[in-house]
Subunit: 341 residues, 2 copies
DNA sequence: CTGAAAGCGCTAACAC
DNA sequence: GTGTTAGCGCTTTCAG
């Protein structure tokens, strides 16, 4: 079942290739009889358009890429799913690249994607210098950042308001009477981590609660660092007491809770916990964790729509409207890990 | 920073395009001086090869597609991540298509992918008739099925041994003294569901435990059906008593556990539970569910390797070795939801 | 309304 | 070793 080409159809029908092309694409004016004839022949000979040839000619591949650190995380999976839903409606397909949180892989993938001439790019970078994407951006292809945004001026990004996220966490805890609130933060080099810590500090300040640096731990978003940092905080609890802890990533939250459990303390009786990005799998009966959450589906939708708009603007030679950073609202999902102090 | 083409480089250097092409690809023999000269010019003028043009010429896109029902599930995310890792090492990139468990979407995506001339396909189909993939397979592109395998003869597939999976579940329960074991099975139309139920029946038979049809419930893999079927089983528990339940999907397991909790019964004191595909997120302290698990990373790796091999065989015009169905071993992850009866 | 022709950027015979 | 040339399959002026 070898598929036919446009020129074979043309020969078969005794018309020119351009006529066949026109009839197939329905754009230009073709006599109705001719169109029918072509369509029938296409059906009969199993004609399938070759998008590669079309891409070469039109220098547009109808393809977008999503480059991210870990597709097995529900957070990214949900975002990608929604981006795909939105853009596939306009005939775009998604190339996925999983960097395993590694900057070298990210660079390698970006090069491959550039070579493949993808029309646009979604990037959850691990390389905040933003150096490897630069070529992409300079080439004129729309690039939208998610999750982690380099500190450049001219760029599109869709993220939550990370300061606001932390403010909600602190607010929840403070409302339950907590004042000595430990935090397991992230790297001081990533904007995400910096913003989340800043939000914590702001919220504390608003309530006239002094921030005790001894209660600020720095992790790297992984389970182990949540576990270790919590251990450390717990070990110094005599001198630096606290009644609650806020962890800024899903895995660190789990690590911290394990450390608490191992120390024989109970949640929330002894220590209250607010986590981040905790996906309550199913609705099974267990202790639900109070957590700051991101609206993944909305993030995906906004990214998809933004990309589509940028691409349309490109076509119309309109000026790129100024770069925009969409800041979506996080929300607090109430669970059973926060008690009154 | 518009990127150059091979012919512009050639003109610039006063050599022919073929020389440039050869120097760049390093395949054929080119004088070392020439090669250096070309390489330097390529660097200087920011030459980036155009994979689209190359694809058109070589009729190979160095692209594979993965079509699946829900990328936000950890199960699929993990598999895709590993496939990507394996095949990207050979220069292939992955196009992802999320069908939202919908046969129409699946068909639409398969058409788009065919049009894009992907070199190979991984499919977790929701359409077991296998009718929409047929064209793909007939075109000669390697297709590997995962998760759900249509009932055709000639095909490559990588799955776990689903009968074995159920046998392990029953074995675990039987070892704890359970004989009245309810099961929340899947559709009778999908091979996956059929095999899992068959494994349950076999294991029961091996132990001379009669299968009580009243204890066999049919769900559709979703949370709601696990919940509803469990409710139903529970409602008839007086007449058809059972001390354990085995659910064959992650979501149905959660739904079932919720139903049990709502009925006021305790797990495992009143009812033991063995689930399927339960990803124990993190290692947080909570009731861990005893579950049959699939080795997702190995599945991904095998799929990637199989695809790569098929593609290599294609190039060498070797006979396709007979189609193979890899049956990997599931494993039982012990939790705290199975008690002695 | 339709046809002829010129490529998109690259590879690969086939000559020299 | 290197150059010439003929496309891969399609879109799109430009004529008629």
């Amino acid at each position: 079942m070898k598929s036919t080409t446009i020129s074979e159809l043309a020969k078969e029908l005794g018309v020119s290739v351009s006529t066949v092309s026109r009839a197939l694409n329905g754009k230009s004016v073709v006599k109705e009889d001719t169109r029918q004839m072509v369509l029938e022949a296409a059906e009969k000979y199993c004609y399938v358009p070759n998008e590669i040839a079309r891409s070469l000619k039109k220098s547009s591949t109808k393809t977008m890429a999503v480059v991210l650190p870990d597709i097995s995380e529900t957070f990214f999976g949900t975002i990608v799913k929604e981006i795909d839903r939105v853009v596939s409606g306009q005939g775009y397909m998604l190339i996925l690249a999983d960097t395993h949180e590694n900057a070298d892989n990210e660079k390698k993938y970006l090069d491959m994607l550039y070579t493949r001439r993808v029309d646009a790019l979604v990037l959850a970078t691990v390389d905040c210098s933003g150096s490897t994407v630069r070529r992409f951006m300079e080439s004129g292809a729309p690039v939208v950042f998610i999750d982690n945004v380099p500190d450049l001026q001219e760029l599109d990004a869709v993220t939550i308001d990370n300061r606001q996220a932390s403010r909600m966490a602190v607010e929840c805890l403070a409302a339950h009477g907590h004042r000595r609130i430990a935090v397991i933060a992230g790297s001081e080099k990533e904007t995400t981590g910096v913003d989340r810590l800043a939000g914590y500090e702001e919220a504390m300040a608003e309530r006239n609660i002094p921030v005790d640096r001894k209660l600020v731990a720095y992790g790297n978003y992984k389970w182990e660092s949540g576990y270790l940092q919590m251990k450390r905080l717990l070990a110094l609890r005599k001198e630096n007491p606290f009644s609650a802890v806020y962890a800024i990533s899903e895995k660190m939250t789990y690590g911290a809770m394990r450390a608490i459990a191992e120390s024989g303390l109970r949640v929330p009786e002894d220590i209250s916990v607010v986590g981040f990005d905790i996906h309550q799998v199913g609705m099974e009966p267990r202790q639900k964790i109070t957590s700051v959450r991101q609206p993944e589906v909305e993030i995906g939708r906004r990214v998809g729509e933004l990309l589509l708009r940028r691409l349309a603007d490109l076509g119309e030679k309109e000026d790129q409207a100024g770069h925009r950073r969409l800041l979506l609202d996080p929300f607090l999902e109430e669970g059973e890990t926060v008690g009154v102090f």
